[in-house]
């Protein structure tokens, strides 16, 4: 028995080591957003300051890049959630011709490497002389996120008892009324999960965006472009704020889900 307990305890410690390892770059990012650096490079600790929080928006092209990322993420999330939920409903609730092929398309969009997706989209835009700008970025972001919304919504709808919807129809609700008052509320957790996932995928994307951005710069593209000259502390601060907001939303969502059940 002692041997078993020792093995489990070692695995417990090991799990924590892995968690610390996974989180260490986050700690570095947060810490160096408070670094009172004097030289150009932000690589050694030189004292605590809140200066970069006060001067958060002083680098104008970085601010533009962040704003671009937020707008693109918001727009592509709205499109993705609407069309993804529709397809999720179709696949989870209905039988139709071409369903197998549609499932394959959804699976293919998830499993295509980002690099190949970006490269092939650029091939299309170059062949069709389509100018690359924020619109082409949105097209690409909807493309790589839509399958995730489809999958989360479908997973939710198959657990929902279809007799609830039938009961609503029997009680005289219209098709739209049934959807709005019965179906939508019950699939809402899946829709929200899909929305958060597509927002996160969009705001984080570098690879696909780098192919289709033209001269529009997003937050990740700006950061990679700045690696050679040195990352300014404002990037750390923005990363810290995005991290904090994301964690808060996730925890709030988990608490709300627990309260519902």
């Amino acid at each position: 028995m002692r041997g078993i307990r020792l093995g489990d305890r070692l695995l417990h410690i090991y799990t924590w080591i892995i968690i610390v390892w996974l989180s260490s770059p986050i700690a570095v990012m947060i810490l160096f957003g408070f670094n009172d650096k004097k030289s150009k490079s932000n690589t050694s600790w030189q004292g605590f300051t809140l200066r970069w929080y006060a001067e958060l928006f002083d680098i104008s092209d970085l601010t533009v890049a962040l704003r671009n990322s937020l707008v693109i993420a918001a727009v592509s999330t709205v499109i993705t959630v609407v069309i993804g939920t529709m397809l999720g409903l179709a696949l989870g609730r209905h039988r139709f011709r071409g369903k197998g092929f549609t499932n394959f398309l959804v699976f293919a969009a998830i499993s295509t490497p980002e690099l190949v997706m970006g490269a092939s989209l650029l091939s299309l835009f170059v062949s069709g002389n389509v100018p690359r700008d924020a619109n082409t970025i949105i097209i690409a972001h909807v493309l790589f996120s839509v399958s995730f919304v489809v999958v989360t919504v479908r997973a939710r709808i198959v657990t929902l008892d279809p007799s609830l919807e039938e009961a609503a129809r029997d009680l005289g609700a219209t098709a739209w009324g049934t959807f709005r008052q019965v179906t939508l509320p019950s699939i809402m957790p899946g829709v929200m999960a899909g929305a958060m996932l597509s927002f996160a995928l969009s705001i984080d994307d570098y690879v696909v965006t780098s192919f289709v951005n033209g001269s529009t710069v997003t937050f990740p593209l700006w950061i990679v472009g700045a690696v050679k000259t040195g990352i300014p502390p404002q990037v750390n601060v923005m990363g810290t704020l995005i991290f904090g907001i994301g964690v808060l939303i996730a925890i709030g969502n988990a608490v709300a889900a627990r309260r519902r059940t």
Binding site: D8, H12, T15, I18, I19, L22, P25, I26, V28, M29, T43, S44, W45, I83, G84, M86, L87, A90, H94, F96, T102, L105, V106, F107, A109, S111, P113, E114, L115, V116, A119, S120, L121, S123, L124, V126, S127, I139, V142, L143, V146, A200, I203, D204, Y206, V207, S210, F211, F219, P220, I223, V224, V227, I231, G239, I242, F243, V247, A250, A254
Partner: protein, 283 residues
């Protein structure tokens, strides 16, 4: 109307996927057989030699990407399995807390995380600089711009995608099955090898798929953590497309990469048995 409903619901996404996923693949296939240059334009010449030229020039980087992707996948499996095992069987009521902690890095941009590693591992940075100051490391010790840095970065960045599917398959294992094995005089090691491990294979399969493909095709880790000797195929495709505007070569390389990955997946699926593939795909 009722019969049309599913088609109308499916149509927008279907069009999006067809126009922006399927058609671009055809466009890329076509571009990969063209010749010309960015100024005078490209014309279809069915020059299959684009492929042999591209492979001749960049075969090394393609092979290197597969090796790096493979090494990182093996590392993730070895590092991640025990974590998934412990959380699934010993996590108790705090399972979701541990999973949340494992997913914490995803709240920070991929690019930013990789840059943080560049920063942590820099030759005279907070880690190695300090150790060198204490005389614990030779002055010329470095990790950046080596294979270790790139494979380590890939392992770090994709590890949660390995842990989660393995966790899901282990979590489904009924503890009574393990008890039964032990009642039948299996040692703990034998019970693990003959009961738990086979039951977790679908998770391992899904985990390997979810990590090997993106790790092999990733350009960021090599760009930020590697040196000139660690260039991967992703970097080459990016440069050929975006800097050299050599679309035919870049398209041929992208196609080759995808073909190699697909063949790899297929061979691997055959080796593991198709039921596992179907099960993994069905999730």
């Amino acid at each position: 109307m009722r019969r049309l409903t599913p088609y109308l619901l499916a149509l927008p996404s279907w069009l999006w996927l067809a126009i922006f996923l399927v058609v671009p693949m055809a466009a890329m296939a076509s571009v990969s057989l063209q010749t010309g240059n960015a100024i005078d334009g490209f014309a279809m010449t069915f020059s299959f030699s684009n492929y042999s030229d591209a492979l001749g020039r960049y075969g090394t980087q393609l092979a290197r990407s597969l090796v790096y992707g493979g090494l990182a996948t093996v590392a993730m499996l070895v590092i991640g399995y025990p974590v998934a095992y412990w959380i699934a069987f010993k996590g108790g009521t705090r399972k979701s807390v541990y999973l949340f902690l494992l997913l914490l890095p995803f709240f920070v941009s991929f690019v930013l995380r990789t840059i943080s590693w560049n920063f942590l591992l820099s030759d005279n940075g907070i880690l190695f600089g300090t150790l060198k100051g204490w005389g614990l490391l030779p002055a010329d010790f470095h990790v950046l711009a080596t294979t270790v840095a790139v494979v380590g970065g890939l392992t770090y960045n994709f590890l949660p995608f390995m842990i989660l599917p393995i966790y899901v398959s282990l979590e489904r294992v009924d503890p009574r099955v393990i008890e039964a094995a032990q009642d039948l005089y299996a040692t703990r090691a034998a019970a693990f090898r003959r009961v738990v491990l086979p039951l977790s294979l679908p998770g391992v399969f899904a985990g390997v798929l979810m990590t090997f493909v993106p790790a092999t095709a990733d350009p960021i880790n090599a760009q930020i953590l590697g040196g000139t000797a660690n260039t991967m195929i992703g970097n080459i495709i990016q440069t050929e497309y975006l800097t050299n505007l050599n679309y035919p070569t870049a398209s041929a390389l992208s196609f080759t990469l995808m073909a190699v990955l697909l063949v790899g997946i297929f061979v691997y699926a055959r080796a593991l048995g198709t039921e596992n593939v179907l099960e993994a795909a069905a999730r």
